[in-house]
Symmetry: C2
Subunit: 119 residues, 2 copies
């Protein structure tokens, strides 16, 4: 686009809390890479992480795609801080909408992970 | 995919409990119609239901597709009883693999449903 960028044009679109849909959240988490990203963000305990801090066995453009799906479904918030795009889990919003769901999903993912690595 | 059902040409393939994957379950539940089917099966409290007992605003072939996705992901069991194909939620298997997850998902779906019909 060649139009003059308005102030704040680098803000990325996010659904408001009340726009977040359970189906969208579940779709976002139905991919192993995205589930892994969410587990790492949860483990960071509220700390924001850059995309490059995730060691994913996929290309940079695929990583960008996964973060976009997570952002557009309301699972993560992506904010530019200077030149860095920082990612944080929207746990407060998700917990308010669906109490206990994120913790149950994280527990299920951890349980599956330890089960599959037993062999 | 192996089948846990006994021999019989009309037996439909199901993943064994240990083959069920969290990502597949979440994908199966990421569709509003499939989420509704699972809510109705849960409300039936273990009773098996025929596909035609679900009033879904989609064609018969789409309904069949949704039930196949639910079966292949390990969320429902489909068994022929005479000429009727009966559907039941695999809650025992899912609870054993992911304790608390199904209940958290059902609670989240109920909460969203009541929130969206407030207006």
């Amino acid at each position: 686009m060649t139009t003059t960028a308005p102030a704040g044009s680098r803000d990325l679109p996010h659904p408001a809390r009340e726009e977040i849909r359970l189906e969208g959240v579940l779709h976002a988490l139905s991919d192993p890479m995205r589930l892994q990203i969410v587990r790492e963000l949860a483990a960071a305990g509220g700390e924001e992480l850059t995309c490059s801090q995730f060691e994913l066995p996929v290309t940079k453009s695929t990583t960008t795609h996964h973060f976009r799906v997570l952002r557009e479904s309301g699972v993560v918030r992506q904010i530019y801080r200077g030149t860095a795009k920082m990612n944080g889990l929207r746990k407060d919003d998700l917990d308010a909408l669906f109490p206990g769901l994120v913790d149950a999903l994280l527990a299920a993912a951890a349980r599956q992970s330890s089960r599959l690595t037993e062999f």
